[in-house]
């Protein structure tokens, strides 16, 4: 009798859960189509791609030449510049994308007025939804030689001719555009911290800085590590819009604006439609990202098991 009741209860739960499972289904299908099936495309990096046969019917290179597309990339002189730019910008972005959003999130959390919070949140998030094409022209309005506001204020007229400024300009625009989203993630973690801990610390005479260092940051640690590991996965990729649209494709700036993604794009829209070669670049990006994620997670697990992502 008890068993029958349990079965009925399980059936009831299952029925109640059907809707929930159904709601997962569209996302799951999307995930399979958008993220899983295209993984097969990684084989293009090892194929002698023929337009006649189609990309997926093109033959794989024989085993001894399997990495011929990769060899072709690494034999090119430009690869040094591409790797340098991609890696260095990402290292800077990874650090700043943690430090600054965390700091802003903590400051944001200290605002007491709900109205002010809403205004600041909207202002900081807004750049995130503006396309890079528009941001490119906003940048141009600030930096152009003839009519740029900043050019006139600083008396500098060669922003688009002098690469020396661009590592800073790119970093500033990246932060301006991405800060909002990073901040929201950390704010969501801050909201979960028990307010009584702050009250208790305050009663014990802890200053704002001490409360931040000893309560807030330890609670954010797991989120920071998660974001760090996810950033490592993208260490060989770059924000195409940032590096292509913002510098207006100026010839003078290519030394500091060419990354692997810009290189692939230029190849594909230029006169070299070698899909295998460009797929090899993408495969290289993914593999490096994958290895770094595994390594970083392994190290974190050794140091602090609970903070590891998996």
């Amino acid at each position: 009798m008890q068993r029958k009741a349990k079965t009925l209860s399980q059936n009831g739960m299952w029925k109640r859960s059907v809707i929930t499972y159904l709601m997962i289904l569209p996302g799951l299908i999307y995930f399979i189509i958008n993220n899983i099936l295209p993984m097969y495309g990684i084989t293009l990096a090892f194929r002698n791609v023929s337009y006649k046969l189609g990309p997926l019917n093109s033959p794989l290179y024989p085993l001894e030449d399997l990495f011929v597309n990769f060899e072709m990339i690494f034999k090119q002189d430009i690869i040094g510049i591409l790797l340098r730019n991609t890696l260095l910008y990402n290292v800077v972005f990874i650090v700043l994308d943690i430090v600054i959003p965390v700091a802003v999130a903590i400051l944001f959390n200290a605002i007491e007025s709900e109205r002010s919070k809403k205004i600041f949140q909207t202002a900081i998030l807004l750049p995130n939804i503006i396309s890079w094409v528009i941001v490119g022209y906003i940048g141009y309005a600030f930096l152009s030689e003839k009519s740029g506001v900043i050019s006139h204020l600083l008396g500098v007229t060669d922003f688009y001719h002098n690469p020396i400024y661009w590592p800073f300009i790119l970093t500033v625009f990246h932060l301006w555009k991405c800060l909002g989203m990073g901040m929201v993630i950390y704010v969501s973690a801050l909201v979960g911290i028990d307010a009584s801990m702050y009250e208790a610390a305050k009663l014990d005479g802890a200053t704002w800085w001490q409360r931040t260092v000893h309560i807030t940051l330890p609670h954010l640690k797991k989120m920071i590590i998660t974001m760090f590991i996810l950033s490592l996965a993208r260490i060989m990729t770059s924000d195409f819009g940032l590096f292509y649209q913002l510098p207006m494709n100026s010839s003078y700036l290519k030394d500091v604006t060419q990354t692997l993604d810009v290189y692939v794009f230029n190849n594909l829209v230029g006169n070299d439609p070698n899909i295998g070669l460009n797929a090899a670049v993408s495969a290289f990006q993914s593999v490096v990202g994958f290895i770094l994620v595994i390594l970083a997670n392994f190290v974190i697990k050794k140091v602090d098991d609970e903070s590891a992502l998996f």
Partner: protein, 508 residues
């Protein structure tokens, strides 16, 4: 109620996804037989009567037993997306243009090679036309990779167009009548006077493409000059010696000229990043002149737009460099299973005056009326204008261009227009008399793919900077040293060997 709504929402999302998935990868199947799918381009806006014209083309073709689907692309998209288009659209006939190499595309199997037997069998008209003007583009194995357009000669002569009133204002109208050849030194003098007379404007606002306006070369199939060129400016059109373009005297002169232009404020300092087109800048007066590539009659288009007479100053001696990276080639797309029908249609397209003008200008009576059949002059139908007409394809990237109609001029008298058309033909004939000695040779660079990429990377890094006035002796020396380090001399030697072998073969 909430559950029912949630359930319905889920079902509708899944259904939408399913519909989306079923649509993915669904291509218009080529019907086989004599149905041909061809690429076609438009400028900025798709003409509104495009379906009407396509239907008219098919009505016309029905009598001949074939039918056609035209896949339309904006030129800007098409020129940068050959690979995507071939992967996604079922193309039979495709245009390879805008600096792309049909030989490289054939190597990549993006286009099919065509045998001489197939041309004999399916393209008798093209074969006949080929006797007087070689239109077959061949690779180093002698296989045909495409058919170029039939022109009187590819007109490779850059020019500077300026309002006659401006020339008057600086006191040079008598000295420089229309068509006068000018050197870069002449241009410097003209630019200086223009800047003095119109300090708020610039003589030019766009960076100069030296290969169109300052250095006459035949790159023999490599549009970035990474493998050396025949340099007509320095060595004349007789030499078959391939040289490093960037070491030529003409190129150095061009770089110094551009540096001078920037230093003196004769060119908009934001020429590279500006969003205003050079034509628009000329029309609205920001630029006092405009650099022009192509036929002399294009000057009249500017005259129409600015509403006053313009003068064209010839910078480069026109030369005939046919059927290579600069020209327009039509080819059978790699994935096509309709090769025979594609070639048969191409043959018709190249020889049928009605068909080629139908595709270029639309339907006679609806979009245009013939004014003078002998000289090929038409006008807009029923009081239509260029702005109100539902169809007008200015490009004309196909066919026998001798038989493409032209619209009557709105500023010239009829006699003047006929004279202009004759001038145009004479200019092309003159260019044909000044051909590249390399004939139809195209360099096969497949043995040096990586080296060429390295050289191109160096060119990308320096050449644009030179064209933007960045020349100094030090930067130039650095540029040449980088080219040498990238092994340009080895590629030039290989290209020279291939050219010598080709010339030896055709000269018996």
């Amino acid at each position: 109620m909430k559950k029912i709504l949630s359930f319905l929402l889920c079902v509708s999302m899944i259904a939408t996804l399913a519909v989306g998935i079923s649509g993915c990868g669904k291509q218009e199947e080529s019907s086989g037989g004599r149905h041909v799918v061809m690429t076609y381009f438009y400028g900025e806006n798709l003409p509104k009567d495009i379906d009407l014209v396509e239907a008219a083309v098919n009505d016309y073709l029905k009598e001949l037993g074939s039918d056609l689907t035209m896949e339309f692309y904006p030129i800007s998209v098409y020129s940068q997306n050959y690979s995507t288009i071939l992967m996604t659209d079922p193309i039979d006939l495709m245009c390879v243009a805008f600096g792309s190499s049909p030989i490289y595309y054939a190597q990549m199997e993006m286009i099919q090679t065509i045998t001489d037997e197939e041309i004999q069998k399916f393209c008798p008209n093209i074969l006949e036309m080929n006797d007087e003007f070689d239109m077959m583009v061949r690779n180093s194995q002698g296989e045909i990779v495409g058919i170029s357009t039939r022109e009187l000669g590819f007109y490779n002569g850059g020019a500077y167009v300026i309002r006659k009133s401006d020339l008057n204002a600086i006191g040079l109208a008598d000295q420089y009548p229309d068509g006068t050849p000018v050197t870069l030194s002449d241009l410097e003098m003209i630019f200086a006077k223009l800047k003095e007379a119109f300090p708020e404007s610039y003589p030019i606002v766009s960076k100069m493409d030296e290969s169109s306006h300052a250095v006459s070369v035949d790159p023999l199939g490599n549009n970035k000059f990474a493998s050396g060129v025949l340099d007509f400016s320095t060595n004349g059109t007789e030499s078959t010696q391939i040289v490093n373009y960037y070491e030529s005297e003409a190129y150095v002169n061009f770089c110094k000229f551009m540096a001078n232009c920037y230093a003196n404020g004769w060119i908009d300092p934001e020429a590279e990043t500006s969003t205003v087109t050079k034509n628009a800048a000329f029309i609205n007066g920001v630029a006092r002149g405009v650099l022009l590539e192509g036929l002399p009659s294009l000057r009249d288009d500017f005259a129409t737009q600015v509403g006053e007479e313009c003068v064209r100053l010839q910078i480069l001696t026109p030369t005939c460099v046919p059927q290579r990276a600069e020209a327009i080639t039509w080819a059978v797309a790699g994935p096509s299973e309709n090769k025979q029908a594609a070639l048969e249609f191409l043959d018709l397209f190249w020889s049928d005056v009605k068909l080629m003008n139908l595709i270029q200008w639309g339907i006679e009576g609806t979009h245009f009326e013939i004014v003078d059949a002998e000289n090929g002059i038409i006008r807009y139908a029923d009081g239509l204008t260029a702005e109100t007409s539902g169809f007008r394809m200015g490009g004309g990237f196909y066919g026998d261009k001798r038989y493409i109609y032209v619209y009557e001029s709105t500023v010239d008298t009829y006699e003047e227009q006929v004279a202009a058309k004759q001038e145009e033909r004479a200019a092309m004939e003159a260019a044909s008399q000044n051909p590249s000695p390399a004939g139809n040779f195209i360099y096969d660079s497949s043995a040096h793919d990586v080296t060429i990429k390295n050289i191109e990377a160096v060119i990308d890094r320096y050449a644009n900077i030179m064209a933007l006035g960045g020349y100094t002796d030090e930067v130039y020396a650095e540029f040449i040293a980088a080219l040498k380090a990238a092994d340009i001399d080895t590629v030039i030697a290989d290209k020279q060997a291939q050219l010598d072998a080709y010339l030896a073969e055709i000269n018996g």
